[in-house]
């Protein structure tokens, strides 16, 4: 099982998901792309708790993971799982590292994900400016006004074989906050991310995106 060989489509999917999740407030609270871009411009940093529910036909109840994530413009991310598997993904100035807790403690994973991440980092800088339209990987539509829903549909055949759609729900009562993201692989199989305690534009030390501890 060579993890350095993990399907580039799968790797890209994972990191595109990271990219979407790194923008929980960038989407702003608006019902058109122009306003979204305007709202996005004021976001410098984000931190939040998240829960991840994996729903699959093989499971009768979802597999729940929990953690925290941090974003700092333009493209620094710390995506940290606290349960059931302890894991930290760090992205900062083009460097990508992933750590997991194993029987020897926190160890850096060795994998061939960097190439895919370079593409994703370019996308992050676009998305952080609220530039959803004209995206290479997804076509985007907005539904509703207060607490709108953004639906992303993969453009590429390779991606659409892995993800059928992504549904982003924005908070109805807190402008500028993303409530949840649902990534649908196929009927009955989806991942639901929900965010709580979202903090915007707080000062986050740069070392937090460079070092695991």
């Amino acid at each position: 099982m060579d993890f350095t060989m993990i399907d580039s489509r799968a790797t890209k999917c994972v990191f595109l998901i990271m990219m979407i999740l790194s923008c929980p407030v960038m989407l702003g609270w608006a019902d058109n792309w122009e306003d979204i871009q305007k709202e996005s411009a004021r976001i410098k940093s984000v931190s939040a708790h998240f829960s991840q529910e994996k729903h699959m036909q093989i499971l009768t109840k979802p597999l729940v993971s929990k953690g925290r994530f941090y974003f700092q413009a333009p493209d620094s991310i710390r995506w940290e799982y606290t349960s059931p598997v302890k894991s930290v993904l760090l992205m900062h100035k083009g460097n990508i590292k992933r750590y997991t807790m194993d029987n020897k403690g926190i160890v850096e994973e060795s994998g061939g994900t960097v190439e895919a991440m370079q593409i994703v980092l370019q996308e992050i800088s676009l998305w952080s400016k609220g530039q959803f339209t004209g995206n290479k990987h997804f076509s985007a539509t907005i539904k509703g006004t207060k607490g709108p829903q953004i639906i992303l549909t993969p453009k590429e055949k390779g991606l659409s074989a892995m993800i059928s759609r992504i549904v982003i729900n924005l908070s109805a009562d807190r402008p500028g906050v993303m409530k949840s993201v649902k990534i649908v692989e196929n009927e009955g199989n989806y991942t639901l991310f929900e965010f709580i305690d979202v903090q915007i534009n707080e000062n986050i030390s740069e070392t937090f995106f460079r070092e695991v501890e």
Binding site: A10, V14, M56, P84, S87, E109, N189
Partner: protein, 235 residues
């Protein structure tokens, strides 16, 4: 001539060393009395649950060249029907592998690289079967090891030998060998509670060594009617 004979001796020693390294010797089974053999056979059932179960593990993989990675595995198995449904996903929940083994047939519903190569899916499912389902082969011998652990030896198809060893503290090991005694797999189970191990370690010794460390996240019995347990015919 003397030099040739010296070379010949060295060659023989080298070949013997290579053979010793590649072929492990099977454990010696002690036979004390018939009751002990019957007891060993009973104890050798302990690693294999009797009813359908769903287990979720984190899986740490250590690969040749020092490469490592962690994924999450969900397995549903039905010992009576001999069915296995296995899903492997990233920590972020992205499914990389989804396959089921049913009545001797393998069906792969999703296999992203590296799970899509050659017989990779079949090898993964074989490892999963080895961990969760009792050996299908003929019970050839049973007894005790020198240290008092129970051991059962099975001969399976394709010239494979399976040793199931259950220690006195209820931890267990499974080892498989070719008929030539070349070791293929070793599985060790630790932190066993109610017959369910908290940690499983699998080491593969074939073309290149690899190891998987499975840490239990959850285990629950399932009904035979639940998705993942049913055979393909009933779905």
């Amino acid at each position: 001539m003397k030099a040739f004979m010296l070379f010949g001796h060295r060659f023989l020693i080298l070949m013997a060393t290579v053979l010793l390294i590649s072929c492990s010797s099977l454990s010696v089974i002690r036979h004390t009395d018939p009751a002990a053999a019957a007891d060993a056979i009973q104890r050798c059932r302990r690693p294999f649950l009797d009813i359908p179960y769903r287990v979720v593990h984190s899986i740490e993989a250590a690969l040749p060249g020092g490469k490592t990675g962690t994924v999450v595995g969900v397995t549903v198995f039905d010992p009576a029907a001999g069915t296995i449904h296995s899903v492997i996903m990233t920590i972020e929940g992205f499914v990389l592998f989804d396959a089921r083994h049913d009545k001797g047939e393998l069906r792969v519903d999703r296999a992203a690289a590296p799970f899509d190569g050659g017989h990779f899916a079949a090898h993964i499912m074989e490892d999963v079967r080895l961990i969760f389902l009792a050996p299908q082969g003929r019970l050839a011998d049973a007894g005790l090891l020198e240290n008092g652990s129970s051991i059962c030896r099975y001969y399976e198809n394709q010239d494979r030998i399976v040793d199931v060893v259950v220690h006195q503290d209820d931890t267990w090991e499974i080892e498989t060998y070719r008929a030539s005694h070349e070791r293929l797999r070793k599985i060790r189970a630790f932190s066993v509670h109610d017959r369910i191990p908290g940690i499983l370690e699998l080491t593969g010794f074939e073309s290149s060594n690899y190891s998987l460390r499975l840490k239990l996240i959850s285990a629950e019995p399932v009904t035979a009617q639940e998705p993942g347990v049913r055979s393909q015919d009933s779905e």
